[in-house]
Structures are given as structure tokens and as C-alpha cells.
Amino acid sequence: MPDATLLKQTPLHAWHAAHGGRLVDFAGWSMPVQYGSIVNEHHAARRSCGVFDISHMGRLRVSGPGAAAYLDGLVTRRVDNMKPGQIRYGLVCREDGGVLDDVLVYQGADFGVGEGGVSHSDSHSTFGVVCNAGNRDKMVAWMTKRLPSGVMFEDFTLSTAMMAVQGPEAMTIAAALCDIDVMPLGYYRGQAAHVMGAPAYVSRTGYTGEDGLEIVCRADATQAIWAALVEAAEAVGGGAVGLAARDTLRLEAGMPLYGHELSETIRPDDAGLGFSINLKDRDFVGRDALVALNDPAKPRQVRVGLELEGRRAAREGSRVLLDGDVVGTVTSGSFSPTFQHPLAMAFVDVAASSLETMLQVDVRGTSLPARVVSLPFYTRPKG
């Protein structure tokens, strides 16, 4: 265990500690893995409203006249045609196509959360980038090294906070604290707003498979907003949710997690993330390597969803077999609180990846039947 005093703390650290949060080292941050029951926290987000401290995520700002062209040269999705308020998921690759991180790019978002946000004339040349906590140092180094003159790069992770409000009641709860009407915000759209009077950037994004809002605000405004969100969530049967339930929620929603379904050695196409790569009429770092990596003649393993019977879960690292032969490896696995049986994501040989194929997972010496099913496992009911 690293010395706990060296871990970074979010502005909500004292709240977590005072409310039963079990604090663990997550990517160098002291973060609450759970407050009580993981299952109850999971259900809170699925059934009413879960509130998450995700301040460990990296919040970066790129601005200046060349910002769009600069980011477009680093991200696998097109960035230079985004409209203000638009948010896009993409990958950042090395020259050899290895994925450094998966990110959200926010056109016109000011993660410095200055008063009043970014003026309209500046918004075309300002971008927010949210990266994974564990990749932040790597990403900051990568991005600053390639920074052209005239483009400014700033890391606001430590001076700001980020909270996610997720679940069927989340929009109503979050909207009550905002000075603008957030209900018309489309999915993957964001807007500058004041939340409880504090300048903030809000977006209709999340990592749970539920509807909801994510809020970036200055560190000193965090406690009041958090307390109001948690109180409103508890009033409808929800509450604060830790990282453990965040993980079971994203697993059910079939969302990849860097270090599991994504890494410097996993090809994005094999992870089912081909949609996040746009090669047409554009160039970015790693583009040619990604094209070469997709040689169909090369053997490949692709990401699949696995559904297990019973209650014993397949875990990361479990071997996947077909008729006794090893055909892959589990990258994420857990008991699913929503479906009440274990789910997993795994990379398996293409020949073993067809839907309904019956595979086996070796769980500590016990062979458990596992059926290949389509991802995501969970899709929220619409309407």
C-alpha cells in the first residue's frame, strides 16, 4: 500500500470520510469505493438517482486559434467540425496505434469554470477534454509535448471538481439547481451554467447507462452542490454512489474501461470501438498504424459480452475456453445487481465470438458455462 498521505484528495474527501465512505487508492486518488452496500448504490442509479464524485477524472482545457486543428491531429474522431456544446468520444493514440486513453472532447467547454463561461466568440477555439485519472500524467505529457505555438493547454483537475448525477430522477434533481433549463440538452451536449449560483459546465453525459448530468465546478463550490444533490437523491430513495457500483453500472451498460477493454496493446476495432475512429480525409497521430493494424489476415480477439448462470462471477483474468481450448480472457466481470446473475466482458477468438456461442470460463479451477450475448447487457427503458 502506498502511503495514504500521498494520495490526492477531491474537494469531497472529508464528506466521504464522514459518511462511511470506504476510501481506497484509485489511480493515485483517495476515493470512496462504497459507502454501504454496493448493490443498494447500484440500484439507486438504476431506479432513482445516484450521485458520484468523479473529480479524479482529468479535466483539461485547450484554447486558442489553433486549438481545433491541434486536437483534430491527436484524436481519432473529427474535432474540427464540432458545434459549440457538442461532446464527442474519441481515442488518443501513439504513432504505433497504441491507445493512450479514451477521452471526451467538449467543444466550447471552459473547465476553468470562469464566471459566465466562455464567450460565444471564444467558444469556437476552446475545448474541454476529460481523460481517465490513471492516464492523466501520460496525457498531459503527450499533449503538451505536441503543443503548437498559439494554442494554450491547461490542466484544471486539481482546482475543480466533477460530479455525476445519474438515474431516472437525475435530470429533475440536477435541473432544480441550475440557472438555465437543462432539460432540453441533448445526449452528449453541454452548456455553461450556474449551479447553486456557482459558475459550472454541465453536460448530458455519464458512465452508467442512465440518463443524467455531469457537473464541473470550481473546487470551492463543490461541497454545497454535492450536499444538495445527495439530499435530493436521498429524498427519492437514492444517494451517494461509490466507485464499485460505478463499475458494475458501466459493465452492465457494456462500456469499456481503460486498462480492461482498452489499453496500449488492444486494437480499438477489436474492442468494438471502430465507431470512434474516423479515417476519412483526415490525419491524426497513429492513423496509418491503425489502418495497418486492421489487416484482416492477422489473428484477432474481439470483445464480447458473456452471460453466466448461477451466482459465481467470472473475474478479470479468468480464462475463456471453447470445448476445452483456451480462446480468450475475461477483462471485466462481476455479479450483476440488475440481472441477478454474473456478467463479463472478454476478448475471444473471432471463431468463438458469435452470439449464442456456449463457452466456458475457468473460475479458480471451476468451469462455468458462459453464453456469448450482445452488448450492452443493459439498455435503459426509454420514455
Binding site: Q34, S37, I38, V39, T248, R311, A313, F335
Partner: protein
Amino acid sequence: MEPEALQYAKSHEWVALAQDGDDRIVTVGLSAFALETLTDLVFMDLPDVGLEVSPEDHLCDVESVKAVSEVYSPVAGVVVEVNEALPDQLETIGDDPYGASWICKIRLNDGADLDGLLDHAAYLKACADDAH
């Protein structure tokens, strides 16, 4: 059973010793502290009756939503009985950790003893030290 009357392994198993004729039988379970820490148990298996164990040998697994934890034997002996009902009662396992939630009974080997186990006060102190 009163937790103060039991003995504990540092790996969080409790032990209750009883004499049964010539045999010394220990009942083994997981402490309230362990069950509270594990949370959200979804699966457990049981050791096989007849399994011969030494202290710190693997007895069985308990699995929560988040992780798998091992239960270790606190003593040297042979498993003579298991709580067949327990794996179907995981939602209430924390309600009666020192009674209904017993895991198995082990007949102590001749010459085996409970030396090395902790009394309740020493166990609670070990738990508190672990938490820091």
C-alpha cells in the same frame, strides 16, 4: 453464541470449542467485522465433509459483488459437518454471525490446540490496527 466467548484467527474466522464424547469439535464462522467489511455477498461454497485441514489451509470461498475472499481453517482437523443452508442465506448472513451463520464444524486432531488464536479483545484490536 457470545462473541466475547469465542476465539479468532487474524484472517477473521471465529472458533467455538465444544467437547463431544472423546472428540473436540470446533465450530467455525466469519466474524461480524469480516461480514460487515465484505458486504454484498452473492456466492459461497462449502468445504467437503472429510476434508483434512491444517491452520491457514483454504476452507472455502465467499464472493461479494466486488471480489472473492478465502476462508481459512483456524485449526488442524477434519471437517465433519457443514452448514448446507448458509449459501442460500447470504442476504442475512450478517444478522447472526456467531449463530445461524456458522460455516462448518471441524474435529480437532489429537494434539491440535487453539494456541495462536486471539481472544475477542485482542481480535478487535487487530481489526482496528488493520484499519489504519
